[in-house]
Symmetry: C2
Subunit: 341 residues, 2 copies
C-alpha cells in the first residue's frame, strides 16, 4: 500500500492544496509532534533498528493514518496530548505490517522500489517489525487508555487474520467478492477504523460519535484499498508506469480481476488461470490483463465502488456540526478516490 499524497510546500497557496494537504496544514503542529514521537521511538542502541525503521517510517512522510487520528481528535474537541501517541502507535502498527508484508510477498520490487527486506534481509525486516509493533503498544500504554488499547489491539488481531486469509486465497482465481471484501476490511480498513475510533475514545465523546468516526475510518479504508487495487493495474490511465503490477505478479486476486473473471469467455478464463493459478507469466501478460480489465469495465466499476464508500465515509461525519474540519475530512474521503486522476 502506498499513498501518493503530495505534501504542501510553504509557497503553495492553501486554496490550491488537495484535501490531504489542507488537513496537514490544519494539523501541522499535531503532525510535527507525531513525527517527533515516531523518530524518538525508533531509536535503539542496536543500529539496524533506527536505520531500517527510518527507511520505512520517516522516508516519504506518508502519514495518512496518523493524520486521521489527530484530525478526528480535533473534531472531537480533544484538548490533551495522548492523540499524538495513539497516532504514532497507528503508524508503527502500519509500518510493522508493511515490513512483514514485504517478506511475505517475496517481491523484488514494491511500487518500483526495493523493499526493506531486499536491502537489510528478511530477518531484520521481521524483527524490526516486531520491535515497531511492541513500540506501538508501549505508546498506547503511556496514554493510560485501556479502551483505546483494546481497539488497536483487536485491530491488530484482525489485520493478521486478514493477511493470513489473503495468503490462503493467493492464486485462487475463484475467490468470491464477499471473501475479497472480508480480506480488505480486515487487512486494510480495520486499522483506518481504529485510527479514527481512538480519537472519540480519549476525548470521551458519545457512543454515537465513536461509532460515526469508526464508520468514517472503515469506509475510507475500504475506498483506499479498492483504489489501490485498481491503481495496481494503472487505474484509468492509458500508460502503465513502473509502479504497477505488484498484485498481478504475486498472484493476488483483487476486485477488478474477480469481476472480470466472472464475465470472462474461454480465452480470458484460460489466460487468468495460467497467470494466476498456474502462476506462469510472460512480459506482455500484465498489458493483456489490463486490456481485459478495461474491456470488462471492472477497473471502472471498482473505482465506482470506492467512490460509494467515500460517499458513505463523508456521510458518516454528518453527526458532527458543520465545520471547516468536517468538510475537509469529508473531502479527504473523496480525494482518496480522486488521487488516481
Amino acid at each position: 500500500m502506498s499513498e501518493p499524497i503530495k505534501f504542501p510546500t510553504p509557497e503553495m497557496p492553501v486554496a490550491r492544496k488537495n484535501p490531504a494537504e489542507r488537513l496537514l496544514v490544519l494539523a501541522a503542529s499535531d503532525m510535527a509532534a507525531v513525527d517527533s514521537l515516531i523518530t524518538d521511538r525508533m531509536q535503539s542502541p542496536v543500529g539496524i533498528i533506527p536505520d531500517l525503521a527510518a527507511h520505512l517510517v520517516s522516508a516519504g512522510g506518508k502519514r495518512l493514518r496518523p493524520l486521521l487520528t489527530v484530525a478526528s481528535a480535533a473534531m472531537c474537541g480533544y484538548q490533551g496530548q495522548d492523540h499524538h501517541k495513539l497516532a504514532a502507535a497507528v503508524e508503527f502498527i502500519h509500518s510493522a505490517t508493511l515490513l512483514h508484508d514485504d517478506v511475505v510477498d517475496e517481491s523484488e520490487l514494491r511500487r518500483g522500489k526495493r523493499p526493506a527486506n531486499k536491502i537489510w534481509g528478511n530477518a531484520s525486516s521481521i524483527l524490526v517489525g516486531d520491535f515497531l509493533f511492541a513500540g506501538a503498544f508501549n505508546l498506547m500504554v503511556e496514554t493510560g487508555s485501556m479502551e483505546a488499547l483494546s481497539v488497536l489491539s483487536k485491530a491488530s488481531s484482525v489485520i493478521a487474520e486478514g493477511e493470513v486469509k489473503q495468503l490462503a486465497y493467493l492464486r485462487k482465481i475463484t475467490v468470491t467478492e464477499a471473501d475479497y471484501m472480508d480480506i480488505i476490511r480486515a487487512k486494510t480498513a480495520a486499522l483506518f477504523a481504529a485510527a479514527t475510533e481512538v480519537a472519540p475514545i480519549i476525548a470521551e465523546r458519545s457512543t454515537a460519535e465513536r461509532a460515526a468516526l469508526r464508520d468514517y475510518g472503515m469506509k475510507i479504508g475500504l475506498a483506499f484499498q479498492l483504489v489501490d487495487d485498481a491503481l495496481d493495474y494503472g487505474g484509468m490511465e492509458s500508460a502503465l508506469g513502473k509502479s504497477v503490477g505488484d498484485d498481478f505478479r504475486e498472484g493476488k486476486v483483487t476486485l477488478p480481476v474477480i469481476r472480470a473473471y466472472q464475465q470472462a469467455g474461454h480465452v480470458e478464463k484460460a489466460f487468468w488461470n495460467r497467470v494466476v493459478v498456474e502462476h506462469v507469466q510472460t512480459d506482455t501478460d500484465l498489458e493483456t490483463a489490463v486490456s481485459y480489465l478495461r474491456a470488462a469495465g471492472t477497473l471502472q466499476s471498482t473505482l465506482e465502488q470506492a467512490r460509494k464508500y467515500a460517499d458513505d465515509a463523508r456521510q458518516a461525519l454528518s453527526i458532527f456540526p458543520k465545520s471547516n474540519l468536517r468538510s475537509t475530512l469529508g473531502d479527504l474521503a473523496g480525494y482518496v478516490v480522486d488521487r488516481i486522476n
Copy 2:
C-alpha cells in the same frame, strides 16, 4: 529454545517427580485453565491459524513460562482469575517469537524437528506469529491491568531488540561476554522476568515483592539460556544426540565458544574463524567444536555460571515466607540447570 521437561503421569508418585512436575501438580487446575484459554484463543475461521498455532503451542505442552506466572500468583496469594490470561499471554508472546525465530534462523531442523515454517512456509509463520502476538495483547487488555500490560509490552520491545542485536552479532567470533549477556538478558530472560513480575502486580503486593519475583524470573531466564547454550553442544554428555548443533550450524556465538576462543591457540582460532566467521563447515566440525569446548572447560564453566544464576533465583525468593510453594519454585531454578544430567 526448548524445555525438555517431562510431564507427570497420574501413576507417578509425587516424591519422584522433579520440581517442574511438582509445580505442575500444585498448579494443575490453574494450568488446565491456561491451556483451555490458549486453545480457545488460537481459534479462527482462517484454518491455517489454528493448525499452525496448534503445532507450536499445544504440541508438546511445554509451558514453563506460564507455569511461572501462575505459581508466582499463588505465592502472592492472588485470588482472582486474571493470572490465567496473563499466563496465556506470556505463552503467546513466547510462541510468536519462536515462529519468527524459525524464519529468521533459516534452519532446516530445530532440535532435530522440522520447524513450522518448513511445513507451512515463511509467510504463514510470520503472520500467525503476528496473530498470536496481537492475541497476547487482547488477553492482557481483558485483565484491565495497565501495569501488567506495561511490563509485558516493554518486555516485547526488549525481546525484539535483543533478537536484532543477536542478528547483528551472528558469525562474529569476537563478540564480548558483556554483549552476549546483554543479548540473552533481552531475548530470553526479559520474558521470564515479566512472566513472574505480573503476578505480584495483579495481586497488588509490595514493590519489594514485585522486585523479588522479577529478579527470580530474570535469573531463572539467564540460567535457562546458559544451559540451553551448553546443551546445544551436548552439555556434559559424551554422546551427541541429533538435537544438538543448531547454534553451531547457524553461526551463533554463545558463551562456551566466546570463552574457548579467548584462550584458543592458532589452530583453534583458525578453526573457529572458518566455521563461524567464514561459515564454512564440514560434517565432522561439530565434533571438533565440542572437543575444543570440553578441552577448554567452557561447557563446564557456562553451566557453573548457570548454577550461580539459579542460586541467585532461589535467593531472590527469600523475601517470601517459607512454604512448600516457595521451596518448589526455588528447586525449579536448580532443576533448570540440572535437567542436563
